[in-house]
Amino acid sequence: MAASISGLLKPWTPRVLLVRWSRYNPYYLEPEVRKEAYSRPESELSAEEKEERELKKLRPIKAATNSTTSSVFNDPVLSKFINMMMEHGQKTLAREIMMQTLENIKRKQVEKYHKATEGQKDGIECNPYVIFHQALENCKPVVALASIQKGGKYYQVPIPLTGHRRRFLAMKWMITECRENKHRRTHMYEKLSQELLAAFEKEGNVIKKKHELHKMAEANRAYAHYRWW
């Protein structure tokens, strides 16, 4: 914004309008984007949901981000993954890579489907979204280690994780694995599709990392009492 002295005296409008800020007053509520939430009749709602609706009539609501849509294809997990893959704000590139990954997964699975015998055809999953979600589920750790100080020394203590933290760790491991452990000439979407398919079958480096974390936690289970929450 140009801040000239004469500019300050004129009536001023912000140069960028209708943009979702990143810091809102906690008074603002999250927007409800899904169409199904609004098409439910009055009778189906419980008392708490009715109260929530009444509250939403009165409180201000945050603006929805550009990447959220009310279409059936909107997937918050997928959006989060794309955001985590994004570097230097290049959302189009990250989204392109993700779409190419999903297409690649579909191609591989369809090829496998057509080559398989009649008995095996039912077991092959062709929907790339299902594969993506299942692979992430398989990569999520159950417990993690935290460094806790007791009596001057630091111990690795196994702690339970929240659902968000588990999802974040699974996505982070997947992305770092695909960025680092690949041949310099393989594309990201190629490596990602390989890793996702491997995680779907419960093989691959990310699953190995998860198992190693579980083994470490199991080895340190004696220190579990050092937690205080």
Binding site: V142, P160, E218, R221, A224, H225, W228, W229
Partner: protein, 122 residues
Amino acid sequence: MAAQGGVLFQEKVSRLLSRENGKPVLKPNRPLVLKDSVANKKPKKGEASCITEMSLLMACWKQNNFVDSLCSNEVNTFYTCVHKAEAARKNKSEQSNVTGGRLTPKQATTLLKRFPNLRSEI
């Protein structure tokens, strides 16, 4: 009421500081002024939750060589236990804040900073 009590208190303090009746009782090296903050109390350390479920889960892992599909029951019980412990912790902190009539040290400090002790006449 506070002003009368304040005057009596000031007189008592000046008596304690005076050298007229032998040695003074108080020899302060800093001015006798209240701070605008309250000392932070260390929160009581609770005990770890869901230890039994975790130990069951780890025993199951040890038996099945860390294959997840065979331990799904233990995993689900662990998750439910963690969820309940989290909800209980939130409820407890909310409850102890609302009832009791006492302020936490942080709340007291915020309040005192908004209405500070006047050190000079301005």
